[in-house]
């Protein structure tokens, strides 16, 4: 005999109530919202102008005037982190968008068709996957020239196989279920079943993978900027700031610590958010409590 406990009805209020009972979701959400708010604020106001170089104020330690200190050109680090957030978020968001937009349909198609189409797609996928992402991104930006747009494309391309794979694996687990058979017996085609039944059932999976890729995107952008292939000066970016800081680690540690912290906290927040969302949307998590 199987044991079944009746689950509460899944209403919007119910989901919200669950969301506010989930600590990692709340913390993740707070951090993410903070980063987004800071990025938005930077459009209208920053403590100092990040394009203005004040050599007289160079490499100052944190003080009341410059909370996070200044860099070797006398720019305010807090202001640069605020503007850099904008860059990081934009790059990661678009990169995840590219990955999902192309990867999810590819994976769903491979799972639905199976056979040769599936094999071919997944082997091409493996090929892309086999390149170290950062190395290939360097290659792409080296060919098309450095810059934020090319960085986005490069990171986006490496999100495609990730999403294709996750989608395919999730979809393959749903396809043999009886309700899919019932839908086929009702004469629905592969596309229709994918849209109506498969995707809603793997949405949680994709959402969680999305937050992970978003965090990785921020890291990748920082990495690309660090080697000088991301956003170009004078546009500040977190990775670029770390690059500038590395030779002054001993004399001006704040130049490395604050952008580094910004990256760590943002990635942590996104991962917590992803965990939280997975918990909330997973029907089994309701039983655990």
């Amino acid at each position: 005999m199987t044991m079944r406990i009746d689950l509460p009805e899944e209403t919007i209020a119910g989901v919200l109530a669950k969301a506010f009972g989930n600590r990692s979701f709340l913390i993740g959400l707070a951090i993410t919202l903070l980063v987004v708010a800071v990025a938005l604020l930077s459009f209208v106001w920053t403590p100092y102008d990040v394009t203005k170089l004040v050599i007289a104020d160079k490499t100052q330690a944190p003080s009341w005037a410059h909370w996070f200190g200044t860099d070797h050109f006398g720019r305010d680090i807090l202001s640069m982190i605020m503007v850099g957030a904008r860059n990081s978020i934009a790059v990661a968001l678009v990169a995840v968008g590219i990955g999902m937009g192309i990867g999810v349909p590819l994976g769903a198609f491979a799972a639905a068709r199976g056979g040769l189409a599936d094999e071919a797609l997944m082997r091409v996928n493996d090929l892309v996957f086999a390149f170290p992402a950062l190395l290939s991104a360097i290659m792409i930006t080296a060919i098309f020239g450095p810059g934020a747009v090319n960085a986005i494309i490069a990171i986006g391309i490496f999100n495609i196989p990730v999403f294709a794979r996750v989608t395919r694996a999730g979809a393959l687990a749903i396809w043999p279920r009886e309700f899919i058979l019932a839908a086929r017996a009702a004469g629905k085609g592969l596309t229709r079943i994918t849209v109506e039944h498969i995707l809603p059932n793997i949405a949680t999976l994709l959402l969680v993978q999305g937050t992970i890729q978003f965090a990785l995107g921020i890291l990748a952008e920082a990495g690309l900027s660090y080697v000088g292939l991301g956003a170009q000066p004078p546009m500040p970016s977190w990775g670029r700031m770390l690059f500038d800081a590395q030779t002054r680690m001993v004399t001006a540690p704040w130049m490395a610590i604050f952008p580094g912290m910004a990256i760590v906290i943002t990635v942590l927040g996104l991962n917590l958010l992803g965990d939280g969302i997975a918990d909330i949307l997973d029907p089994k998590s309701r039983r655990r409590r």
């Binding site: 199987t2 019932a182 004469g187 059932n201």
Partner: protein, 540 residues
């Protein structure tokens, strides 16, 4: 003194009462049957004895096993008991075994843990017990993995694990529900032998009254967490003094009232299956020779007339579900043709199949798995409607769904619920509503009642009979349960290893089976009348 004594056991899970004052006792060498419908608390009673309850469960009362107070025992004491003095057999042999470990390792594991025996010694004992449960090493080496065994063989491994250390008490929770009747009879025989050999106590949990009657010395009937009746099997079932006992017994033997059986050969056939075969690619045994295909369905022919009800019976793995899929055009036959209303449906593109699909629907076995958990009933039941030539408007669609729900005994308010808000029986009604919404001519039902409780089973069978009469739907029932065939079918086909080995009017085939396969099925099928009669003789 009894081996196991449960007195006044009450159990709550986060304030919901699950068990209320349950009393139960088992002596050494005794078989006690625990009967009840789903949600009655049978499994929770078993889990209490093992102290494997969910976290929020609170148990009160007294549970004494062999002089040990189970509810007060420490976790270490329980670990020593579980698997050594108390063994447990679960329902699903597919999930009760670890798929990445060999059967030898899984049997030896418990032996080594409890007896501190060495690897070689534990393996030797594992070999012995596997041999005892009918898996001799010559045919089933210890290095086999669970997926290399059939369902019945896997259940034998589960029993071997539970009985490896000769436990004083064995708890078997629906041990044969997932198996076909022939395997069920074999597993029950094995359990009976093990009980008499080791003077083991056996707590047999089942929803199937006939199975429990055949096995148990005493019966305890559970309903909503309360014991309604307990006593000797023969007396309890022959007197049926408690109304619930009578209700259960009646539901187990329920045969829906049907009008005269459909006269054969009176009309143009609705469905014609002509020497259909289906091969699956086999496993390659040599590099040079091509793999031998596995023939799942072999040269099968059958016809179904309008409003006729046909049952296809056979053991699991005999190819009946494959045949059903081909009839529903979900799978392509490798040989032969299938015609629906005179039109061939084999090898046609999906777009050309629409009219046939509209008139041919399906009801699956598992009422939990056959609905998308993320959609509401309105959308789920309306799924086949897109096959209609003229797409109904939203209001019309709701009207049609409401009508279909009404026909299966559900209300229009149920439209806006999710499938998990329904009980198993209600879900099977939803499944039927979905199947009849396009007013089909043929419904293929694959084990439609085998996952349901007896009383709900009776209701669903009645519903099938009623719809057959009202709407003139023809049925193809696919089942290993002969009582369903007897209750519902005009004609019975017996399938064995991909072939139809016997066919004829239901009463003829089931009362006087001629083929060996049919005889085996009939002999193994549990029958409450027969079981009670036998118990009466034994227990006087």
């Amino acid at each position: 003194m009894s081996l196991l004594e449960i007195e006044n056991l009450s159990l709550t899970i986060s304030a919901t009462p699950i068990l209320k004052g349950v009393d139960l006792a088992i002596a050494a060498g005794e078989v006690v049957g625990l009967v009840g419908e789903s949600g009655s608390g049978k499994s929770m009673t078993a889990l209490t004895i093992m102290r494997l309850l969910p976290h929020l469960a609170r148990a009160k009362g007294r549970v004494a096993f062999d002089g040990i107070d189970i509810l007060g025992a420490s976790e270490d004491q329980m670990c020593a008991l579980r698997g050594d003095d108390i063994g447990m057999v679960f329902q699903e042999p597919m999930t009760a075994l670890n798929p990445v470990k060999t059967i030898g390792e899984q049997v030896a594991e418990g032996i080594r843990w409890h007896t501190k025996a060495g690897r070689a010694e534990a393996e030797e004992r594992a070999r012995k017990i596997l041999d005892r449960v009918g898996l001799p090493e010559a045919k089933f080496p210890l290095s086999r993995y669970p997926h290399e065994l059939s369902g019945g063989q896997r259940q034998r491994v589960v029993i071997a694990i539970a009985c490896a250390l000769k436990p004083k008490l064995l708890i078997a929770d629906e041990p044969t529900t997932a198996l076909d009747v022939v395997l069920q009879a074999q597993i029950l025989d094995l359990l009976r032998d093990l009980v008499s050999e080791n003077r083991m106590g056996l707590l047999l949990i089942s929803h199937d009254l006939a199975v429990v009657t055949e096995m148990a010395d005493r019966l305890t009937i559970l309903r909503r967490g309360e014991v309604t009746e307990a006593g000797d099997t023969a007396r309890t079932l022959s007197e049926q003094s408690h109304p619930y006992t009578r209700e259960l017994a009646l539901a187990s033997m329920h045969v829906p009232a049907r009008p005269k059986p459909h006269p054969a050969g009176s009309a143009k056939p609705l469905l014609e299956v002509e020497s259909v075969g289906r091969d699956y690619p086999g496993r390659r045994k040599s590099l040079i020779r091509p793999a031998q295909p596995i023939r799942a369905v072999d040269d099968v022919s059958l016809t179904i007339e309008p409003a006729q009800s046909v049952a296809l019976v056979g053991r699991s793995g005999c190819g009946k579900s494959t045949l059903a899929r081909m009839i529903l055009a979900l799978d392509k036959p490798t040989a032969g043709t299938i015609r629906f209303r005179g039109e061939p449906i084999t090898g046609k593109p999906e777009s050309a199949l629409r009219p046939a699909r509209r008139d041919m629907q399906v009801v699956f076995q598992d009422p939990y798995g056959s609905f998308d958990p993320r959609q509401k009933v309105e959308k789920l039941v309306a799924e086949p409607l897109h096959l209609l030539e003229k797409q109904p408007t939203k209001a019309e669609r709701r009207e049609m769904v409401a009508h279909a729900l009404h026909e299966v005994g559900l209300g229009p308010r149920d439209m806006d619920k999710y499938p998990h808000e329904f009980s198993g029986g209600q879900r099977q009604r939803l499944s039927i509503a979905r199947a009849i919404i396009t007013r089909p001519k043929l419904v293929v039902a694959d084990e439609p009642v085998s996952a349901l409780d007896v009383s709900i089973r009776a209701q669903i069978l009645d519903l099938f009979a009623e719809l057959n009469q009202k709407l003139g739907i023809a049925y193809l029932f696919i089942t290993h349960d002969l009582t369903v065939a007897r209750a519902m079918a005009d004609e019975v086909l017996v399938m064995h290893e991909g072939k139809i080995v016997e066919r004829g009017p239901a009463a003829d085939v089931l009362d006087h089976p001629r083929s060996e396969a049919a005889q085996a099925l009939v002999a193994a099928a549990p029958d409450l009348h027969r079981a009670i009669a036998r118990k009466m003789q034994e227990q006087g």
